[in-house]
């Protein structure tokens, strides 16, 4: 279960507003939102427990419970609503304000304007009703819980803080499209501060958006060193067909290499592992190294050998069958004559 907390205090211009916001205390608290219900079939999928990830046939309606919490010192009047979102350049971005899209028009949150007491929680119900003529494909949206500061008389800056639950809803007849991705190359880099990094180029080859995470392990380094596992940076969301970098930051104390790098990335239940040999440059970016799936060469030779053996056996079988046919009499009348010949005294 994931609780998103937003605690932002913005000094927005006038000296009086700055003083009053800071006087609220260091731990001003915030508002949070989390998903309460997830489908039983997706219980092993970590993404489905945090976001609403589903495949729906046209004409179906689903309901999910969410919970909004308030850890501030005063009651908050929250607005709950659904709005559009998109995946751009490897980031899941909620659209501004109440921008609608098809998915957000199918989605209702009830109650829409709960008053959450200080330190309290309220449960709301999200209903997504897909119409029977819905176009197939995956759509993205957000269920927002929004708190708005009171507008000052005469103007000033209104601060809106909102936290949301992502929607990844795929629509279409039958089963869900399969998710799949490939890790095309690994690039070793060194940042301007001297920190080594490995950037994996990941290509989404499946039919669902992916939220990437994973680890990198180094082995076979200078002096037989191994290092890791190092976690990949979170927050990269790959749209269908997209290719984006996923970076892994490493420790400055690591020697430059060469290293055998093995990277394992996953999104939900889809996992891929690949390897490459990398060396960290002194500065800047090294050449990208194409990855291989890690199958040793001898396995390929064994596979080829089995295929050749099967071909040889098939050819042998056909040849032997042809020879046997050659020895047998081709005229069906002949066996009778041979029998008569044998019976003649």
């Amino acid at each position: 279960m994931l609780a998103l907390m937003l605690a932002v205090v913005a000094p927005a211009g006038a000296a009086t507003s700055t003083a009053s916001l800071r006087a609220a205390g260091k731990d001003a608290g915030g508002i949070g939102i989390r998903l309460v219900d997830a489908p039983v079939v997706a219980r092993d999928d970590p993404r489905a427990r945090v976001y609403i990830v589903d495949h729906l046939n046209p004409g179906t309606t689903i309901q999910r419970r969410i919970e909004v919490s308030n850890t501030t010192g005063s009651s908050q009047a929250l607005v709950l609503y659904a709005a559009a979102a998109s995946i751009t350049k490897g980031s899941f971005l909620g659209a501004a304000a109440h921008t609608p899209n098809d998915l957000s028009t199918w989605t209702r949150v009830s109650p829409g304007n709960p008053d959450v007491p200080a330190g309290g929680k309220v449960t709301a119900m999200v209903t997504i009703a897909v119409p029977t003529d819905a176009a197939p494909g995956e759509q993205y949206g957000v269920i927002w819980a929004e708190a708005r500061s009171a507008p000052k008389p005469g103007g000033g800056v209104v601060q809106v803080s909102r936290v949301g639950i992502r929607l990844y809803v795929s629509v279409g007849p039958g089963g869900a499209p399969a998710a799949n991705f490939s890790i095309d190359s690994l690039t070793a880099e060194r940042s301007s501060t001297g920190q080594p990094m490995v950037v994996a180029t990941v290509h989404n080859t499946g039919g669902r958006a992916l939220d990437m995470n994973g680890t990198l392990t180094l082995s076979g380094g200078p002096g037989g060193l191994s290092a890791g596992p190092f976690p990949a940076s979170l927050g990269v969301t790959l749209a269908i067909g997209d290719t984006e970098p996923v970076s892994i930051a490493l420790d400055k104390q690591l020697p430059a290499g060469p290293w055998d790098a093995q990277i394992t990335l996953h999104s939900g239940l889809v996992e891929r592992t690949t390897k490459a040999t990398i060396t960290f440059p002194k500065t800047g970016v090294a050449a990208a190294v194409a990855t291989n799936s890690g199958r040793p060469t001898w396995r390929y030779l064994v596979d080829a050998g089995i295929v050749v053996l099967l071909l040889a056996l098939t050819i042998l079988f056909l040849v032997l069958r042809g020879r046997r046919r050659g020895r047998e009499p081709s005229n069906p009348a002949m066996p009778t004559r041979a029998r008569h010949a044998a019976q003649r005294p």
Binding site: L4, V8, A96, G155, Q159, V160, S233, L234, A249
Partner: protein, 91 residues
């Protein structure tokens, strides 16, 4: 991810200051946990843009910051009270 957007600063009467003149600096980010937070500090809040990006998140993490909003007021603007709405989103 944490993103921010601003509307234009509109006065009671007269032309508004566009949201492109509004820039955002996160300042010092205090964190709990092992993640690394980088302030994006966008110089233009017209569209939804990342405020602070996170890397290396494992386990429970949280971050707090007091951002500073800077408005570059173009010359020739009338005196008065300008209103805007600044929205922070975490999704």
């Amino acid at each position: 991810m944490a993103s921010v957007i601003s509307t234009a600063f509109t006065p009671a009467a007269g032309p508004a200051i566009p949201a492109g003149a509004v820039s955002y600096t996160a300042g010092i980010i205090t964190k709990v946990g092992t993640a690394t937070y980088t302030a994006n500090d966008p110089g233009n809040l017209t569209g939804v843009v990342a405020a602070v990006t996170e890397t290396g998140i494992t386990g429970d993490n949280s971050a707090t910051w007091n951002p500073t909003i800077t408005v570059a007021v173009p010359g020739g603007k009338a005196a008065g009270v300008y209103s805007a709405t600044i929205t922070h989103s975490v999704v």
